[in-house]
């Protein structure tokens, strides 16, 4: 019964807030749209830097698109709650706000994981990027670490997005910044010093370098990169946890949460 309640909550949250309810839309936006995205950047980068960089760019964009999906999902979740006036109810509920958010996070997490796996399958089937079978252990570890760091950042990102009156502009700006700062299309070592320092504390940067190393497109040590990504994820997780608690306290004290927006 407890399990049913827990999963029922996640399912209800999915039905209420998730935008792709039909299989047709799901296929279009979770398979065709990412494919178009990879194709676009593969063409752009191949045209400028040469076809040798195709695998490099496609893998970078597979991880980037996963991050993008999770950020959009989380932000839509918070925006939906805010739009329908149920954000405050989460805080008033006897269940801890963090537990509520965690249960809701299962859907974006599974969605992100699906996008990542489909991305790697597209990379194999349509771009001919061989899956490194011998590195399968590292690939699994990458899935876990990347999902954790993206989940943590997306949670923080969604909390911060509540401060903005126009969340779409904030979302687009963040996504565009990630495209430049996280080494999606080119190595972060090309960025000037301070920009590279920023890139190193963003999620995705280490994961992108790790996936390229797993696919033997770069020669970096995989374990330190995954460890860095894990630490970056843990840092964002702690900040997000603090932010959720602060939001909760403020909401309880003031009886409202960003009601003026």
């Amino acid at each position: 019964m407890i399990l049913l309640n827990k999963f029922g909550f996640t399912y209800l949250s999915y039905k209420a807030l998730y935008s792709f309810q039909t299989l047709r839309l799901f296929i279009l936006f979770r398979i065709l749209d990412p494919f178009m995205h990879y194709l676009f950047f593969a063409t752009l980068v191949s045209a400028i830097a040469g076809p040798d960089y195709l695998s490099y760019v496609v893998l970078g964009n597979v991880v980037f698109y996963t991050g993008r999906t999770m950020m959009i999902n989380f932000m839509s979740m918070f925006r939906g709650e805010r739009q329908y006036g149920t954000l405050e109810l989460n805080i008033a509920s006897p269940t801890s706000t963090f537990v509520i958010i965690s249960r809701k996070a299962i859907v974006p997490l599974l969605d992100g994981l699906f996008v990542l796996i489909v991305g790697l399958i597209i990379a194999r089937l349509l771009f001919g990027i061989e899956l490194p079978v011998e590195q399968f252990g590292y690939l699994l570890l990458l899935f876990v670490v990347t999902m954790f760091s993206l989940l943590s950042f997306s949670l923080l990102f969604a909390c911060v997005s509540l401060l903005f009156s126009n969340v779409n502009l904030f979302l687009n700006f963040m996504i565009a910044s990630f495209q430049v700062f996280c080494g999606v299309n080119f190595s972060v070592s090309l960025l000037p010093g301070p920009m590279e320092a920023v890139a190193r504390v963003l999620p995705l940067t280490n994961s992108i370098e790790a996936i390229r190393s797993i696919y033997q497109l770069e020669n970096n040590a995989i374990r330190p990169l995954l460890l860095n990504e894990l630490m970056v994820g843990a840092a964002y997780f702690i900040i997000a946890l603090i932010l959720v608690n602060v939001m909760e306290r403020l909401a309880r004290r003031q009886g409202a949460l960003f009601k003026n927006v």
Binding site: A49, N166, L190
Partner: protein
Amino acid sequence: MNFFFLLVRELKYFTNFQNKMYQFLLFFQPLMFLAIVYFLQQMRGGVNVEKFVVASALISMWSYVLYSSGSALIAQKWSDTLKLLIAAPVSLFQVILTKAISNAFIALLSMILSFVYARFIFQLPVGIQDYGLFFLSVLVLLFSLSVVGMILAIVFVAFQNVFDYQNLILIPVLLICGVFVPVDSLPWVFRAIAFVIPMTWGIQGVYETLALSPQMFTTMGIALLISVVYFLLSVLIIKRMEMVLRNHGSLGAI
């Protein structure tokens, strides 16, 4: 007179800083693409950067026209003001035309911004050898974009679901129209599609003007010719649309 009044109102509305939806497309997106071009050209020497600076501008122009013109009429339908447009003293054709023209001119603003960013922020060469010819080719491209904008407005309002697929249209058109890879190098199916899109010729005209190719006037001529054909076709469809709206009070019949 109404036409110019509408045009000015449209331009003011979309360049309004309160209109946050388009701020990203106009101001931030060119920065992102130019940053990618800037760092990528460092990876490989001897890149024709000028072409990719123009390509960045073209991406922004097309995105803007797709989102603004594409949603021009459907937004009226959603806010239930489409019927008011039919009762207005100006024809539906004039309304759509002003929207398409104003959006194409704002797309030009995006191109100019891209060049300013390229020159002063990224120190990338824009590579225009003959400004007069380049401006002429951009005017032809703007005409093509206006016509494509009119068609998008019609298609999106007639088939509601198309709006869901706006993101899916953005990239294939950029790839097919030869923004990065020349149309001639595409498989014949895509080449055939590309040649009937007015923007393909407009974009090719811009690139040929940059290289001062002897074929540039022919390309611009073809761009104008194809655009005029689409323009006449869209006039007919809009007239028919207006008639259906007047007779049935809705657009479901299209």
